[in-house]
């Protein structure tokens, strides 16, 4: 553990130079500017802006990337508070009290408690990440190919069946993603699969192109089909600040929210929705002013916003240690790390430890930069909410094309982007969740490789697919998830109605 902290300090030493801080500033600025735009959640922000970092060397790319990530997340909360339009499910709760506060003339305090709460949660969450990731890696290196196969399958089932309103639609999205993941040359035998004999498809479809196509192009086409011609009311805002009373009422919810958010983030399929709801309920119960809830209670912004950010930090643990993305932003991040030449997984800390610590140090810096930048600039961000919609979506398509083209510098990718955009459009029309598709694209090829490796070790005997104790536990869990509707029907005495969470987009 002491070693880890030492490595982290080395990471900082590599990161803190004036030029790098400039990149952090640039990342946070464009991340917030794009994230604050209505309709753009953190995952879409990262996917859109990622190609900007392609020309940079890894350290600078990480720093800018961390800035974009935090900027995108905070931009989303700003939109929820000022416009009551959460860009994604994890900021739904922030919008409940945050928008009420803003309407009561306390927008500045709502934005401030969200910003400082995000900072506190992000800092503690990243520290916990430093402590927990090596532990998970120690555990992960003892796992074999069958265990990994089981973990990947659990990831598939969890994103398809647990999150989201309809399992069948979740599985449909997952299988479409797995199909996209099949495209390209089979790495073991060198044979082409689903490439239609197109040379451009031989290397497979880049995950960034998939993410940008489904998120950005799909969203734009969907909005084009149903453009609302009345724009929501934006609440004017001054410079965010907190009075002494606000500080007194905010700090405990920040810490409790962090405590709830991080563990959920670490769990596969934990997500940010459950801890934000839990934090809201908890603060309402503990508050000395429960009557203020529903009318703009600051605790109801401070707690859930901290939970949201801590959960985002927690998500990085399975991401770095196992290569397992558990939400849409993490799925895009895996693609980002891969493009920087980092293969997430248990060997990552060993092989590329200096890069990992640089990344983590960058997260700390991005988080700090966000606080420094966003408190004074909030009024400016609020103005961005008034961007005329034709320009907003034209800009999204513009940046989507630029990013997708920049990945491989081939116009073919733009046509691919359009096809994926049409798939994204159809998914929105028919209520298919997006996350299972993205996870399928990323993890499908890895799962196939692990499965074939397991069979190679067993000489083709199918029993080789079942590995150590962990794989039995995981297959048991998968069975419970799949049989859950049956089990629930059997225990008819359970009166408690389950809240259904909508999948993160």
């Amino acid at each position: 553990m002491i070693d880890d902290l030492g490595s982290l300090l080395d990471g900082f030493a590599g990161v803190v130079t004036p030029l790098n801080l400039l990149f952090a500033l640039l990342g946070v600025t464009v991340g917030t500017a794009v994230g604050v735009l209505p309709g753009i959640g953190p995952a879409m922000t990262v996917a859109l802006l990622l190609p900007l970092t392609y020309g940079l060397e890894p350290t600078q790319a990480f720093i800018m990337f961390a800035g974009i990530l935090y900027g995108g997340m905070y931009g989303g909360s700003t939109t929820s508070i000022l416009l009551n339009t959460p860009g994604e499910s994890s900021s739904v709760v922030t919008a409940i009290e945050g928008n009420k506060m803003a309407k009561a003339g306390r927008a500045a305090q709502a934005l401030a408690t969200a910003a400082i709460g995000s900072f506190v949660a992000g800092t503690i969450g990243t520290l916990l990440l430093v402590l927990v990731t090596p532990l998970m890696v120690t555990f992960a290196v003892s796992l074999g190919a069958p265990d990994y196969l089981a973990i990947m399958l659990l990831g598939f089932i969890a994103v398809s069946a647990v999150l989201g309103a309809s399992r069948i639609r979740g599985f449909a999205a997952l299988l479409l993603g797995l199909t996209i993941g099949l495209v390209g040359i089979d790495r073991v035998t060198g044979q082409q699969r689903l490439t239609l004999d197109l040379a451009q498809l031989a290397d497979g479809i880049d995950v960034i192109v998939v993410a940008v196509g489904i998120f950005a192009v799909g969203e734009t086409l969907w909005v084009a089909a149903h453009l609302r011609h009345t724009i929501g009311q934006v609440i004017p805002v001054g410079r965010p600040w907190l009075g002494r009373e606000d500080w007194r009422r905010s700090w405990r919810p920040w810490l409790r929210g962090t405590g709830l958010g991080f563990p959920f983030g670490v769990m596969p399929a934990g997500g940010a929705e459950i801890p934000t709801y839990l934090s809201y309920t908890l603060e309402k119960r503990l508050s000395r002013h429960p009557e203020e809830f529903g009318r703009g209670a600051i605790e109801g912004v401070a707690g859930p916003e901290a939970a949201n950010n801590a959960s985002a930090a927690g998500t990085l643990v399975p991401l770095l240690a196992l290569g397992l993305p558990t939400n849409a932003t993490a799925a895009v991040m895996i693609a980002a790390l891969t493009s920087y030449g980092i293969q997430p997984g248990p060997l990552l800390l060993e092989r590329e430890s200096s890069l990992v610590w640089t990344l983590i140090a960058s997260l700390f810096i991005g988080n700090l930069m966000l606080l420094v930048l966003n408190l004074p600039l909030a009024p400016l961000w609020a103005k961005l909410l008034r961007v005329p919609r034709p320009y907003l979506y034209a800009g999204i398509l513009f940046f989507a094309s630029m990013g997708a083209y920049a990945v491989n510098a081939q116009p073919f990718d733009l046509l691919l982007l359009l096809v994926l955009g049409l798939i994204g459009f159809g998914m929105r029309r028919f209520g298919l969740p997006i996350l299972p598709l993205i996870v399928g694209v990323i993890l499908g090829p890895i799962a196939e490789r692990q499965g074939r490796m397991a069979l190679q070790l067993s000489g083709g005997d199918p029993s080789g697919l079942l590995g150590g104790a962990l794989s039995y536990v995981i297959y048991g869990t998968i069975a419970v998830i799949l049989l859950w509707p049956v089990l629930r029907r059997l225990s008819a005495t359970a009166v408690r109605t389950r809240h259904r969470e909508h999948a993160d987009r």
Partner: protein, 167 residues
Amino acid sequence: MSEPVTAPPDRAQYGVCAFLAVVGVLVMIDAARTDPATNSNDPIGPRPVPILIGALLLVVAVAYTIDVARGGRGEPEGGEDVDPGSPIDWRTVALVIAAFALNAVLIEPLGWVISGSLLFWGTAFALGARRHLVSLAVAVTLALATFYGFAIGLGVALPAGILQGIL
């Protein structure tokens, strides 16, 4: 986004089921085309995984059909700028697609600054912007700014096209 109680059945969903089934069949046909070569390093070869995925697609297509027949429906995605109650405006969608495809075709011959400007201007027009000169000014400014800032500044690969040497 409460659904009206007497919503008519959403029959277009059967199209999704058909799409899934067609993809499933295509994946299996493609897999059958591959050489099932196996060896000691790869006991199963490139075939079984696509076959499995194709088969699961067919299973899901059937289950989806049953779900739809029983009245199941996916809720169209909402959003701040989306009015899900309105019918799909195909004209706008087609115009946006046209602007996008135009950019894909023109990006290499004409370069990003021109094709990107056309993309922005065309999309804004499709979505209802009517101050054409303002849109054009925004489009050209964005295209130039991204070209200089990202292509030249950050090394992002964007083509200069016919403006090579002028920019």
